[in-house]
């Protein structure tokens, strides 16, 4: 609907009355304002920094950090650089965000479905959880879970529910597998079994398409899945080694540790965010027209398959966009780790800022990290959304 250009020469007033031109002017004016403010801020900041003779730049990243980090997903020691320390913090943030989003999705979908359960006490119970989970500030929840974790007894009086498993205020210690060739062959066996399982599925579908009957592959598949890793272990020169934690000195040594800070942060974030996701899933399911239920029932599908095959795929269209926001929220909220001492990106950044005095640069770095993480989540969720979008409309 472009306006028809008048035949006579256009005066200024005519130009101003042209909606297209006017829109352009406003857009340009807004853009100019934004740029002007940005330039002003940059100019003022760099002027102030220069006047104080402060060192600006990222050279400090290559200096030795000289401080220890409680736990890190990548190898780190105080002899490493500041860059490595920040990377260790980032790795912790990414791991928390990943497991947080995963667990939130699993429990959110489960609770969302339960919230609509015809069983009144079950749905009410989930309702109570949702109200508590989303109405209590996350920071308070984190303090609560953290103090629960640290109120456990000390390592010398650790609870040992299973041999080799110790629960104390130092966290959860589990026996861990030592990665030697036994583990390698076991994992290889698992991969082979996985491929075999997919091949079986493919074959079964082919048979079903041809004959209309699906062969029973479950027993075969499970057998392959169970036997292949064992066969791998048999092939290995040395059998698998297990590192069992033991109490030595102040704490447990060996095995895999799950620190109270990690546990409290992950649990707190999942508890809080799942409450929102539960509501999103419930809303998504309820947005599917009643006719879909009735049609599926008319086809004779059992309730569980109606949910899985008919309702949830349609509900996903409503669920995914707000779910993406919750993933992003969870990732950002993980920065509350500073309150309970989990060494996430912000926690490490704070230490780096204090030791180097390079506040502006470090803030720049972690803002960039969060932006990248969240834009990645957005991009992935947009692709997922496109995959679930109605096709052919």
């Amino acid at each position: 609907m472009t306006p028809v250009a008048p035949a006579r020469s256009r005066s200024l007033a005519d130009l101003w009355n042209d909606i297209g031109v006017r829109k352009m002017v406003f857009q340009a004016a807004l853009l100019a304002c934004v740029i002007a403010v940005a330039v002003l801020l940059w100019w003022n900041a760099s002027g102030n920094i220069a006047r104080r003779g402060l060192e600006v730049g990222f050279a400090f990243l290559h200096r030795t950090a000289n401080f220890a980090i409680g736990e890190s997903m990548i190898p780190y020691s105080p002899a490493d650089t500041y860059a490595r320390a920040l990377l260790a913090g980032l790795s912790n943030t990414v791991v928390i965000a990943f497991f947080g989003c995963l667990l939130t999705t699993v429990f959110g979908v489960l609770f969302g479905v339960l919230r609509l359960s015809p069983n009144p006490s079950l749905s009410r119970l989930v309702g109570v959880y949702v109200e508590i989970g989303r109405n209590v500030p996350l920071l308070l929840q984190l303090f609560f879970w953290y103090s629960l974790c640290t109120r456990l007894s000390g390592p010398r009086q650790a609870i040992s529910p299973l041999p080799g498993v110790f629960l104390s205020n130092r966290g959860l210690r589990l026996p861990s597998f030592v990665a030697n060739d036994g583990l390698f062959f076991a994992v290889l066996g698992l991969v082979v079994a996985g491929i075999a399982w997919l091949a079986l599925q493919w074959w079964a579908r082919r048979v079903q398409e041809r004959t209309g009957r699906r062969p029973h592959i479950l027993a075969w598949g499970l057998t392959v899945l169970a036997l292949a890793p064992l066969a791998g272990l048999q092939l290995a020169a040395s059998p698998i080694a297990i590192d069992v934690p033991e109490l030595r000195g102040f704490n447990f040594v060996g095995g895999q540790e799950l620190s109270p800070e990690f546990a409290a942060l992950l649990f707190g974030l999942v508890f809080y965010t799942t409450a929102f996701v539960t509501e999103i899933v419930r809303g998504g399911i309820q947005s599917v027209p009643k006719g879909q239920w009735e049609a599926a029932r008319a086809l004779g599908l059992p309730a569980r398959r109606i949910m899985r095959l008919v309702i949830l795929p349609q509900a996903m269209r409503t669920i995914i966009p707000p779910l993406a926001s919750q993933y992003i929220n969870l990732t950002k909220n993980s920065s509350l780790a500073v309150a309970i001492g989990f060494p996430d990106l912000i926690n490490i950044s704070n230490t780096v800022i204090n030791q180097t005095g390079q506040a502006l640069e470090v803030i720049f770095i972690f803002m960039g990290c969060y932006l990248t993480l969240n834009l990645t989540i957005s991009a992935l969720m947009n692709r997922l959304n496109a995959a679930f979008a109605m096709k052919g409309h």
Partner: protein
């Protein structure tokens, strides 16, 4: 979130706030009519805590009052802001405060890289380790494999790491921002030990359920000269701070107290007469009122009195005076003479 917000605010203040002191800091303070001091927030028992009626009280607050007494002849002309370890440096750099009297450790990089000056060392501290007595630990060197609670944002993390590396020992840090939360984690047994400046440990110990069950180990992981910090490049203001502080110490050395200062002003001792401004000269040399030293002692007291009142054996902190005794009494407190 407060930590992040604080850091962001600090950085933003560099971006938004135009430098306050185009001319001299002193002119700006006089024009404003008050001295802007930063003490450690949210509070630091003994050194600076909010009292009734919104007035701050504590050892570091008195240092700030001493400077105000020199400049204005009135110790009450101060504005206190409580800054965290994260916000204090940007606040000083941006001119939001004139001076830090918040237990900032005087170290080389802060003097050089951060462009500060430390006109005075107000307290000689050292990083210590607090452990429960029941651990039966006699020295920091027995702590191999221990979990240590530490507050971020100070030189403490660095000294802790250096100590363990130097002695070939391993440790796991638990780094929590809020001092209260950190103390709670220690009290709950999340950590075997808690490390900080010995004065801070004394304050933290006083808040535990049973302070007598915890000891501060004899090791000192670092020397922590706590100083008064200002921006570099204003010698006039720097002198005023240095001599305000030296006055507190020299008064103790000369035996002048808040109670006897009027008596001492009648003294015939020429050193005391010069010091208290009965004989003019020193005040004019510093560019302030001739009676500035008299004013400080009259309104605040001397160093020893302040120590006694806020940190000494009769207070809940009960920090032994140790190094902070006068050099004449076996300590390390040695200031240049006022003459």
């Amino acid at each position: 979130m407060s930590r992040f917000a604080a850091a962001l605010f600090g950085a933003a203040s560099l971006a938004f706030i135009a430098p306050a002191q185009a001319g001299s800091t002193l002119d700006a303070i006089k024009a404003r009519g008050s001295l802007k001091c930063a003490v450690q927030g949210p509070s630091n028992p003994g050194f600076g805590v909010p009292g009734s009626g919104g007035k701050w009280i504590g050892f570091n607050v008195e240092l700030c009052r001493a400077i105000a007494a020199t400049i204005f002849g009135d110790a009450d002309k101060i504005q206190i802001s409580a800054l965290t370890t994260q916000t204090r440096f940007p606040a000083l750099q941006s001119g939001e405060v004139d001076v830090l009297t918040n237990n900032t450790t005087y170290v080389m990089t802060r003097d050089t890289q951060l462009k500060f000056n430390f006109p005075a060392i107000s307290f000689m501290d050292g990083q210590g380790i607090l452990v429960p007595k029941k651990l039966n630990v006699a020295s920091g060197k027995d702590l191999n494999g221990a979990t240590v609670c530490v507050q971020p944002g100070t030189t403490t993390e660095l000294a802790l790491t250096d100590f363990f590396r130097k002695n070939n020992m391993k440790f796991t840090p638990v780094v929590i921002q809020s001092r209260d939360e950190l103390t709670r984690a220690y009290a709950d047994g999340r950590c075997d030990a808690l490390t900080s400046d010995a004065t801070t440990l004394a304050a933290q110990r006083s808040t535990l359920a049973n302070p007598a069950e915890h000891i501060i180990l004899p090791d000192r992981l670092s020397k922590e000269p706590l100083g008064i910090a200002v921006r570099q490049g204003d010698e006039e203001f720097r002198d005023i701070i240095a001599w305000s502080f030296n006055t507190l110490v020299n008064a103790e050395e000369l035996g002048i107290t808040q109670a006897n200062v009027d008596e001492m002003a009648k003294s015939t001792d020429p050193e005391i007469r010069r010091f208290l401004g009965v004989e003019p000269g020193l005040g004019a040399a510093l560019g302030v009122n001739e009676k500035y030293a008299y004013t400080i002692i009259k309104q605040i007291g001397n160093y020893g009195e302040l120590y006694e009142k806020y940190l000494g054996e009769k207070t809940p902190l009960a920090i032994p005076r140790g190094l902070n005794r006068l050099y004449t009494q076996g300590g390390a407190l040695y200031t240049p003479p006022s003459r």
